[in-house]
Amino acid sequence: MSDKKIRMLLVDDSASMREMVSFTLKGAGYEVFKATDGIEALDFARANDVDLVITDINMPNMDGFTLIKELRKLPAYKFKPILTLTTEDSSEKKNMGKVAGATGWIVKPFDPDSLLQTVRRVL
């Protein structure tokens, strides 16, 4: 891996999920920034550049779809991979994510291995 660490923004209102995901990603050598909702995430993104955004859909203040739409308006995030965290049975949600501009999805529940495997697909 190059000298510069790969940076990720993780957006989730659930603290446990946030900790689990960031723990796994950090363990794999990535630099992880955390946000608890869309507004917080968008603020961070306006000021910082990351290589990948992983976001939950259902969140207070600004949900995942809106966040993705807003992110795509930012020149730095136009072509960035953005993955949604979604539950298996919600093919409708997957689709809405795509319409909003998401690259792909990570299906909940997941184990650390499959999370890393999915993340590597877009790096």
């Binding site: 072509f79 795509k98 501009g101 998401a102 792909g104 697909r121 877009v122």
Partner: protein, 661 residues
């Protein structure tokens, strides 16, 4: 306490079982696809080898057991994917099967095995290089993203990277949809490219599809099996379909039917006894019908009813008994894929063999006797029919030829067709050859069909160059004679450049047949109904004598030889004048012949009693039967009669040369 067990009592079963094992191995190996073999097929072959090894060791055939051990180890490597399947490997494995068969034959007959031959195969087996990386078949992927694909953060490069992890990747980009850069339509944020991708991999379609799951809906995507893999899968599909059909046709009885081994003598004894029963029944039936004594009409009526019932049961019993002797023709067909494969290899040709109707059942004897003619026809199809791949390509045909072999049942007959999509018969060549051999004069006008049929003449060999494949001195005449001897016939249809088709028609069984009863004087002779073309009154103006010897009859614009049955068989007939006789035209397969009899009687199913078994073989007679009234009637063997009577027709005295009764 020691058990004194005589192992030799199990040898027969062992040989039989091993023979079946070898067949399973052979057909498995022939179905084994080079590259990525079907694990199920590999397992079948492995299991067969494994059982033979175990049993051979148990029964003290150490050499067989040792040999199979080497074979088994290699198969185990294939099974565990340590070794890829190459054409070369399949060849050597097939040779090993031959070697094993040879060793088993030697063991069975108690003769010495040639160590050199076995050692030679073993050496090949041991020295065959291990092909670690099987050349995988793969997927043809057409991937044309929508313009907005990149704006979702997707990136084709990452998709290719994932595909590459599955196998070898060959990517051809398509730039044709990229608008000119100076033009206003060009948006640098759009994706204008499309890609055609060949992925050589044994990955399943789900695995490939999964990689595209995030871009589904954002692209045009077609994932198809690439050429060679498609062929493989289609072939398998076809095989499965056939198996399904066969299963349906067999009334739901699949290949795994329960069976017991019964000595063929026991079956034949049973069938003979049933035959006797049929005859006794028919005598009884005759006696009852004949009973015109009026004194007890009631009882006679009842008796008739009972006899009718008995008749029905007897026929059913006979039919079922016959079925015991019936075997599926698959036993013979199974040999053909190997044959075609070996022939193609040695002739540098390519041909696919398509077999259908393998579950059709036919009498064991017919089955045994049809094998050689069938093999000969297949040989011919590959050698003379199918062209070289270059010639086929030049003619706009697929490089690989197709040989279709099918069997079906029509009434009391079995129809076997052998069809190839090769060059067809070359009428010019046949005519030239026939003239050269003096089989026809130079002036005869022949129809295309007649020209084609010249190949059935004795002394005709179509091979302009005798190869080691065909041209072994066995011609189509022998094929035809074998088939005629079984009471069948063979027809040929061929179109130059398109291919040839041979249709063989055979009786299902040699034990019963539909017979036409003919009367000559006090004797009754029987002609197979299958052979009869027509019956007619003799017309004098149609009668001719050729060279004062042979009588010929003008039958439908064709001169056919006339055989007076009375003279041929030395029976005194009723008719003083030939005009009082009746003409029965029969087809011997080679030609049509007119038989002259006094009267045409009824048609009936007759049980054929072998003269050979009960007396001795008599040329011109196919056998005898016992009629309802107890009289013995001879069954005419028309082809045999013609061979015997060559030149001995009506006006020629039969004399000493005819030992016929």
């Amino acid at each position: 306490m020691t058990v004194n067990l005589d192992m030799s009592q199990f040898h027969e079963i062992f040989f039989e079982e091993s023979r079946e094992g070898l067949e399973a191995m052979e057909s498995g190996l022939l179905n084994l696809d080079v590259g990525v073999p079907d694990p199920e097929v590999v397992n079948t072959v492995f299991r067969a080898a494994h059982s033979i090894k175990g049993a051979a060791g148990t029964f003290g055939f150490t050499n067989i057991s040792q040999f199979t051990h080497v074979l088994e180890s290699i198969l185990d490597e294939v099974r565990s994917r340590k070794r890829g399947v190459t054409q070369e490997l399949v060849d050597v494995l097939l040779q090993s099967v031959d070697g094993l068969r040879y060793m088993l034959d030697c063991a069975k007959s108690g003769s010495q095995t040639s160590e050199d031959r076995i050692a030679a195969i073993l050496e090949k087996l041991e020295n065959i290089p291990v092909e670690n990386q099987p050349k995988p078949a793969g997927w043809q992927i057409r991937f044309y993203p929508r313009h907005n694909l990149l704006r979702n953060g997707n990136e084709p490069y990452r998709i290719f990277r994932e595909l590459m992890a599955l196998g070898n990747l060959f990517i051809t980009p398509d730039f044709s949809h990229v608008p000119g850069i100076d033009g206003k339509e060009f948006d640098p944020e759009n994706c204008y490219l499309g890609w055609n991708i060949l992925l050589q991999s044994d990955a399943g379609i789900e695995q490939v599809r999964e990689i595209f799951v995030w871009v589904e809906g954002d692209c045009e995507l077609d994932i198809n099996l690439s050429g060679e893999r498609r062929q493989m899968v289609e072939r398998r599909q076809r095989r499965d379909d056939e198996a399904d059909t066969a299963q349906l046709e067999g009334g739901g009885k699949g290949q795994e039917q329960a069976s017991i081994r019964v000595n063929i003598d026991k079956i034949d004894t049973l069938i003979n006894l049933v035959g006797e029963l049929v005859i006794s029944q028919s005598i009884m039936s005759h006696a009852v019908t004949d009973q015109d004594h009026n004194h007890d009409l009631d009882r006679t009526g009842k008796l008739k009813e009972i006899v009718e019932l008995l008749e029905k049961n007897t026929w059913e019993l006979q039919e079922q008994a016959m079925r015991i002797r019936m075997q599926s023709i698959d036993i013979t067909f199974q040999r053909l894929p190997r044959l075609v494969r070996d022939l193609c290899r040695s002739l540098g040709k390519q041909a696919e063999l398509d077999i259908s109707g393998g579950s059709t059942e036919v009498d064991k004897t017919v089955l045994e006797k049809i094998t050689d003619p069938l093999v000969h026809l297949i040989r011919n199809a590959v050698d003379h029919g199918i062209e070289s791949p270059e010639a086929r390509k030049a003619a706009g045909k697929p490089e690989s030829g197709l040989i279709e072999v099918s069997a079906s049942q029509e009434g009391g007959n079995i129809i076997i067709k052998i069809k190839d999509d090769g060059a067809g018969l070359d009428t010019g060549k046949i005519l030239a050859k026939a003239r050269e051999k003096g089989l026809i004069s130079g002036t005869e006008e022949l129809s295309i069909g007649q020209i084609h049929n010249l190949i059935f003449l004795p002394g005709f060999s179509t091979a302009s160059k005798v190869s080691d494949v065909s041209g072994r001195g066995v011609g189509m005449d022998v094929v035809q004679r074998n088939i005629n001897d079984l009471g069948g016939n063979i027809e040929l249809f061929s179109m130059e450049g398109k291919g040839s088709e041979f249709t063989i028609k055979l009786p299902l069984t040699l034990a019963i047949m539909d017979g036409q009863l003919l009367r000559i004087g006090k004797e009754i002779l029987i002609v197979p109904v299958l052979a009869i073309v027509e019956s007619a009154q003799i017309r004098k103006q149609m009668l001719n004598a050729v060279a004062g010897k042979t009588e010929v009859y003008r039958f439908r614009d064709e001169y056919i030889p006339l055989v007076r049955l009375d003279k041929a068989y030395g029976i005194s007939s009723d008719h003083k004048d030939i005009m009082d006789g009746l003409l029965i035209v029969v087809d011997t397969g080679q030609q049509r012949v007119g038989l002259l009899a006094d009267e045409i009687l009824s048609q009936q199913q007759v049980v054929i009693k072998s003269l050979e078994a009960n007396f001795q073989q008599v040329s011109g007679l196919a056998g005898a039967t016992v009629l309802g009234d107890g009289t013995v009637a001879m069954i005419i063997d028309a082809p045999g009669l013609m061979r015997h009577c060559k030149g001995f027709t009506a006006t020629h005295t039969v004399g000493n040369e005819s030992p016929l009764p």
